[in-house]
Each structure stands twice: as C-alpha cells, then as structure tokens.
C-alpha cells in the first residue's frame, strides 16, 4: 500500500474517470469548463461523505440500507430546528448530526448485539427513518433560505464550496483511519475473519457498532450538505441514496464480503457516478439511453478495476483465463 503501489492502486479508477470526462468533453461542447467542474464539485459532497461511511460498513462485512432515509430524517430535523424552532445554525447542525448518530448507532447495536444481519436491520431502519421524516415535517418541504446556503456556496477565489472541502477532508481522514490506525487495522481484521480476530483477543462488537454510528454521523453531515444546497429541507431527500453509495464503494473496489477496501477509491467511484450523471444530462440523452449507459458504465468500471490486479500476460490471455474459470465474489 505504499509508494508506487498506492499510485497503481488508484490509477485504474482515475483512468476510468478521465476517460469519462474526455468522452463527455467531446460529446458536448461546454463540458470542459471550470464552471462545469465547479458544478460537479458542488453536487458530490452528500454522496461523498455517505460513501466514505459506507466503505467502512462494507469493510466490516456489514451493509447499511438506511442511509437514504436517515439523510432524509436528519435533514427534516435540521429544517424543523431552523425554521420552526428558530435555532441558530450550529445548534441545528449538531442536532442533525446527533440524529444521524442515533439512527446509525441503533442499527449497529441491534444488528451487532442481537446477532442479526445488518441488511435486514437497516432495511427496517430505512422504513422507520422515512416514516419519522414524514412525521417531523408533516410531509412538507420546508423553505429555509440563504441562512443555510453558506456551506454550499463556492468560496470566492477558490470556486469550491466549504461542503466540498469538508467532504474531501473526510476522504483523507477516512483513508488514514483505515490504513494508518489501530482501529482501521481492527476493522480490516474483523471483516476478513471475525472469529480469528476475536480469538486474537480483540473486542469485535464495539468497533462494529462504532462503524455504524460513524456511518450515521456522516449521513447527518450529508444531510446538512444536502439541505444547504437545496436551501430547503425535504423529507423525501436521499431516496435511493443507499444504492448510489454502495455502487460508488463497490466501483472503488471495496469487497461486499468485507475485509478489503479503500476510501480514496470510493471517492473515485463517487466521481465516476457523478460525472456520468452530469455528462449524460449535458448531452441531453433520453431517459432510456441514460439508464442503459449508466448500467453499462457501472459494470465496466468494476470490470476494469478487477482486471487491474490481474494484469499479466496480456489482455487476451487474461480474458480467456477469466472466461474459463472466474472467481465469484457476490
């Protein structure tokens, strides 16, 4: 994971992304503008922070389907605190983060302590959090206005919003946490073989709960970014976010079976998804075309990344070999 290896590890996905940018650049004239990259940078913070959290969840071999709903709920709470209770922004933001934390912690505790699949617990939380979001806001979008838009507004001179910078910071911090700390080492060990890790004298339950709680906090942060971009809070926010986040993480090469992953590559996954969406919109592609292209690119990105590590003896030999005896990581 050092020196050249780092670079080669990130290279494949970077190239996929660059290829997409180039392609869309040729397809629609104004794609290569600073403004265009600004728009891209502005839209990804919520997905980025959620995907960072999801990377950790997948690494311990869990899954969290509730992130979309929890983002909706945290955003709803933020809106109510700001508009109905007239709280100042920092307190309201803390409350939103706390809401996310509580939801994530609950999912984690129930699944870890009761030994239930996190898939089903978080599926339950998906429904519950969405219901609560509707309850909190009475199913109404709340207009909040400029008071909350600061985070999403590009800083003059830099062209990037504070939200983007924070999201980027979370990627860097996440990668460090994963690869350079004892906690990160434990997460990888747990995801690889929980029984062996436990017998090595490492407490495995608490780290797992912490990961779900962290996922919750990051989702809360995502909600703040989302609300500040919309200038309004919307109880439907985040619908389907879980799939985009998981897709970004898996495109980034993190295994759904746990034990292996990279936060930086997750970020490339996010970039690929976001660029694809923007590029297709710019090109004005019709809905069916958008769908089909998105599907193909998602599969292709993972395929290219999967081949990166097996890149020996030429492309064709490789292809042949893998058509004969593929491995299977569902």
């Amino acid at each position: 994971m050092h020196g050249n290896r780092i670079r080669s590890e990130y290279l494949a996905l970077f190239l996929v992304w660059a290829a997409l940018v180039l392609l869309f650049g040729m397809l629609s004239e104004n794609f290569f503008s600073l403004r265009m990259f600004g728009a891209l940078a502005n839209r990804i913070p919520p997905l980025t922070v959620v995907a960072v959290g999801m990377t950790f969840v997948l690494i311990i071999g869990g899954i969290d389907l509730s992130v979309g709903s929890v983002l909706g709920l945290s955003g709803a709470v933020l809106g109510v605190a700001l508009v109905d209770w007239q709280w100042p922004f920092p307190f309201a933001a803390l409350l939103a983060l706390g809401t996310g934390l509580f939801a994530g912690w609950t999912t984690g505790t129930v699944s870890v302590r009761l030994g239930m699949p996190s898939f089903i617990v978080s599926l339950g939380m998906l429904e519950i959090a969405r219901g609560l979001a509707f309850l909190t806001t009475d199913s109404q979008t709340k207009y909040i206005g400029p008071s909350v838009e600061g985070l999403a507004r590009p800083l003059s001179g830099l062209g990037l919003s504070p939200a983007f910078l924070i999201a980027l910071g979370s990627v860097v911090a996440g990668q460090f946490l994963l690869t350079r700390t004892v906690f990160g080492r434990y997460l990888i060990a747990i995801g690889t073989n929980e029984a062996a890790t436990r017998l090595a004298g490492i407490a495995t339950l608490r780290p797992k709960i912490i990961v779900f709680a962290l996922m919750g906090v990051l989702t809360g942060l995502g909600a703040i970014f989302h609300v500040s971009r919309l200038g309004s809070s919307d109880p439907n926010a985040g619908l389907g976010l879980e799939l985009s986040a998981i897709a970004a993480v898996v495109i980034g090469g993190t295994s759904l079976m746990g034990g292996r992953g990279s936060v930086v590559n997750t970020f490339f996954g996010v970039l690929i998804i976001a660029t694809l969406e923007s590029g297709l919109a710019q090109a004005g592609a019709s809905e069916p075309v958008k769908r089909v292209v998105t599907g193909v690119v998602i599969v292709a990105a993972v395929m290219i990344d999967a081949w990166r590590s097996r890149w020996r003896g030429g492309f064709l030999a490789l292809f042949r070999r893998h058509f004969r005896m593929g491995k299977f990581n569902p």
């Binding site: 690869t179 350079r180 700390t181 004892v182 906690f183 990160g184 080492r185 434990y186 990888i188 060990a189 690889t192 073989n193 029984a195 062996a196 890790t197 436990r198 017998l199 090595a200 004298g201 490492i202 407490a203 034990g259 292996r260």
Partner: protein, 514 residues
C-alpha cells in the same frame, strides 16, 4: 488392481515448480503398487505442492509424471480422480452446512431423476464411517458440528470410498489420537494388499517407522535421499531434512522451582462437552492435557479463554502477584487483558486472516503495542516486530508482506504461535500447537516453550501426540468425557496408564461412548 502392475506404478521425473521462489527443483519420485512411500521434509519443503501436482490442483512448470506408463498431467481434481489418484489434503475442506453423508459422497450422490436417494446415501455413509471406526457417528448431522479430528477422519473415509490406485495422505494424523491412527493404518494395509500405492506425508517419525516401506527426504524442493524405511534412524532422517545434524535434544529440564498457582480452573462447565473440569497450573510449569478426540479439551481451553459461554464454575487467575477471584471471561478480549493467550486448534478458521500479510497476522495481538500515540500505526516498528517473530520460529517466507494463505501449512501454524509469543502473556493455552510442524521446528518450539516457563509463565498444552506431551510437559492431566480423569507426574506416567485414563470416563456411561 489385483494384477501386478509393472514397477514402478507412478513415476515423477524432474518436476519443477516456482512461485516467487523455486518450490520444487528437478524432483524425482517413484511409487510401486502396494507400496507406502513416505515423503518427509521440513515445513515449506514442497511436499504438499508435489501432492497437489499429482492431484491436479497445481500444474508443474516442468517435468513429467507417468502413471502406469502413461503421462499423467491432470488439470483438475476430477481429472486426477478419473485416473485413480485420490488426495486427502492437509487443510480440511468439509462443508459445514451439509451432512456428514453428503460431504462423503458429494460428487457421486446416489440419485434417481436428479433427486437424492437419502436412504441409500445414509446407508453408504454409515458403511464408510464404520470402516474408519466411527460407525457411531450420526451421518445425518451437519459436518460443522464436528471437531478437527473427526473432520479429518471424515476426509479420510471419503478418500477410502473412492476407487483409487494412488492414495495421497497429506499429514493425516496431525490431529488424531492413537486409536484413530491405528485404525487408519489398518485401512492402509488393506489397500496395500489390494495393490494401491500410498504416498504418505507426515512429520511424525513414529508413523513413518510403523507404516512406510520407503522414505524420500525432500529439502528445499530437491530430493535428498530415498531409502527403505527400516534402514534409517530418525536422527539420520532429520539430519537430512534440515541439512545438518540436530543438536542433541536438551533433556526435559528437571522440574524447576514452581511458583504460585497461575491458573486454577474449577468445575468448569461449558456447552455439553465440558462437564466440570478442574485443574491448575503453576508459574514455571507446562501442563499437558491428554485425551481422546472429542473428550472436550478444545472446548475447555475455549471456555477458559472466554471464547464460548461458560455455564458453570470459573477460573482463578494470578495476575501481577495477585490472585483474582473466581471469574468467567465474557470475551477473549477480557481474558487477554488479564494476561491469557490461546493458540487455537483450527488455524484457518480461528487463527489466521488468510488473505492478509504475515506482518498483519503476526502482530495482530500486539497492534496497540507497536502503534504510536493516538493509535497511529508505526509501520517500521510493525515490520521489525513481524520479522523478529518470524525469525524466532524460522517461518519460511519470501517477505513478511506475503499473504499467509501462500505459506505452507506448517509455516502458517508458526505464524499463529509467533503472534502470541510477541505478547507478554502470563498464561498461554496451546491447542495442538505443533499440528503440521516439522521435526526440527518442533524442537525449536519446545525450546521456546521451555524458555517461556523459565521466565515464570504457565503453559497448558493440548496435544494428541502423547509422545510430544511426555517430552515436553512437567505434568499431564488426562481428560475424559469432559472431566479430568487423572493427573500424572513424569515418574508415574506411561502410555498405557494415560490411555487407560482417557477411556475411563466412557466406561460407565455408554451413551457417551465416542
């Protein structure tokens, strides 16, 4: 098979195989029909690799194999089986969710129109298990409920049901106790008379003396010698394996000054296998735990360590000069925090993080110790620690960044042991610590264990190899049916006495007879 095939039956010539480093070099090997040909060598010498080549799991880089005069270059396990070459692998491969019977006959389930004929299957399975002396085993139970030794027997039984002309046994006895071994040898002799050639890989010199006709010694992937088994002494063989004569074994240190009781286990009850085990071990002492397969030794260690829930009794631990009150550990983490350590029996499932590097595996129990402030990993310190740990046990490796899954069985075992040696534990529990470890490395490990007790630590060693226990231990406790049936000091023990004690718990309670 009755017809006497022209000699030799199997002929391997100039086999070469290399991964990062060469594993087999110009390796020659012959097997005659009805012969038991033992293959010995230190850990990582290339024995399993050769077995895998014959069985179609690995393809050689160079060389040829002739089987009954025809080239034998199987690409899959099924290819090899079609030619009658059957392998019992060193690492166990049963499917825990399937029944014993289904595991035995998975690739040839009796069927009609695609539907499994369960009655026929179970009948066949019972016959197969009878053959290895485990007729009482419930063949409809999931294989996951079996312990390592029983799983090993199922694997052997599975191989014995196949039509074979060459049977390869890779470390079959590492987890077996004497009764099973005797039964296995009986089966091998039967096959022999049927003209089947057996390749027998083992680190147990005793086995080789008893069953082998010829022995080939392999060192660093090269054949050193092949000779009739009777003509070599163990010391000669070992010398050839390691390339130099072993220093004379340090006599079992006379029992030194023992300290206070470091670990006292009282009336421990856990699951339905541990039914009130009580024993204690003192500082500076190695206690051996002997017993039959399934007598509950593994479960006792796990229960002490907090790995399984304890339902009765508990342990008293001496920690920094204080004896703590009777307690039950809620988790291994709690036990480790008080100075316990456990080397588990099943290294692949309970010991190793297979896809990860030797460095990560060897330092897993000591990560915080090597980390800097705030839990920051210090890579250089980790590397040093991992190198040290590997050197201490002579782990054969290309680098510590190599995945442990690429290590030979014995070297994997050494990594698990190394992990705990790096930690300052006052009481260490070893479950079959030398499973799959070669003779010279065993000596190294014995020396290390001796050094540990000399520092005043207390060790508990479970082993199915009685000779090993009798070499190593200061005292042997014998488990039978989940309790300690007897304890022996060196002056009082004998194989016969220990074996008698091991059976004692089952004599009155025939329902438990296993």
């Amino acid at each position: 098979m009755e017809a006497v095939a022209p000699i030799p039956h199997l002929q391997a010539r100039r086999i070469g195989k290399a991964y990062a480093a060469p594993v087999l070099v110009d390796f020659d090997f012959d097997l005659a029909p009805g012969e038991v040909h033992a293959l010995v060598g230190s850990n990582g010498a290339g024995k399993s690799t050769f077995a895998h080549i014959l069985a179609g799991l690995v393809q050689p880089d160079s060389g040829t194999v002739l089987l009954d005069g025809r080239p034998h270059a199987p690409r899959t396990l099924a290819d090899a089986q079609a030619r009658g070459v059957v392998l019992v692998q060193q690492e166990l491969n049963l499917l825990p969710t399937l029944s014993v019977a289904e595991n035995l006959f998975l690739d040839c389930l009796p069927q009609r129109f695609g539907a499994v004929q369960f009655a026929a299957l179970h009948a066949q399975a019972r016959v197969a298990m009878q053959r290895v002396g485990l007729g009482w085993l419930d063949v409809t139970a999931p294989a996951g409920a079996l312990g390592v030794g029983q799983r090993q027997m199922v694997e052997i039984a599975r191989a014995l049901t196949r039509q074979c002309s060459v049977l390869i046994l890779d470390e079959p006895t590492a987890a077996l106790t004497e009764p099973e071994i005797a039964r296995l040898f009986e089966n091998i002799r039967q096959l022999q008379t049927g003209g089947v050639g057996v390749i027998y890989v083992s680190h147990r010199m005793d086995d080789i003396r008893r069953i082998a006709d010829r022995v080939t010694v392999v060192r660093d992937g090269r054949r050193v010698t092949t000779r009739a088994a009777g003509t070599a002494t163990v010391d000669q063989l070992v010398g050839e394996m390691v390339g130099h004569a072993l220093p004379p074994r340090a006599a079992r240190g006379s029992v030194g000054a023992l300290g206070a009781v470091a670990l006292e286990v009282s009336d421990l009850v856990a699951g339905d296998r541990v039914r009130g085990a009580s024993f204690s071990v003192q500082e500076g002492e190695i206690l051996g735990l002997a017993g039959l397969i399934g007598s509950g030794r593994t479960e006792t260690l796990r229960a002490i360590f907090g790995a399984d829930p304890v339902t009765g009794g508990g342990v008293r631990l001496r920690d920094s000069g204080q004896t703590r009150p009777l307690q039950r550990f809620p988790s291994p983490a709690a036990a480790v925090a008080q100075g316990l350590g456990l080397v588990p029996e099943d290294r692949t499932h309970d010991g190793l993080l297979l896809p990860l590097s030797i460095r990560v595996n060897a330092t897993l129990a000591t990560v915080p110790a090597q980390a800097g402030r705030l839990g920051w990993l210090e890579r250089s310190r980790e590397l040093v620690a991992a190198e040290q740990a590997c050197n201490r046990l002579a782990v054969r490796r290309d680098s510590v960044e190599q995945a442990v899954s690429a290590l030979s069985g014995g070297n994997q075992q050494k990594v698990v042991i190394a992990r705990w040696l790096a930690r300052d534990c006052s009481v260490l529990l070893f479950d079959e610590p030398t499973r799959g470890i070669d003779v010279s490395a065993k000596e190294t490990i014995y020396a290390i264990l001796r050094a540990l007790v000399a520092e005043g630590r207390a060790l508990v060693v479970v082993s199915s190899d009685l000779a090993e226990l009798m070499t190593l231990c200061d005292r042997i406790a014998v488990m039978s049916a989940g309790r300690i049936a007897a304890e022996f000091t060196p002056d009082a023990w004998s194989e016969e006495a220990i074996t008698r004690a091991a059976f004692s718990g089952y004599l009155y309670d025939s329902t438990d007879a296993r």
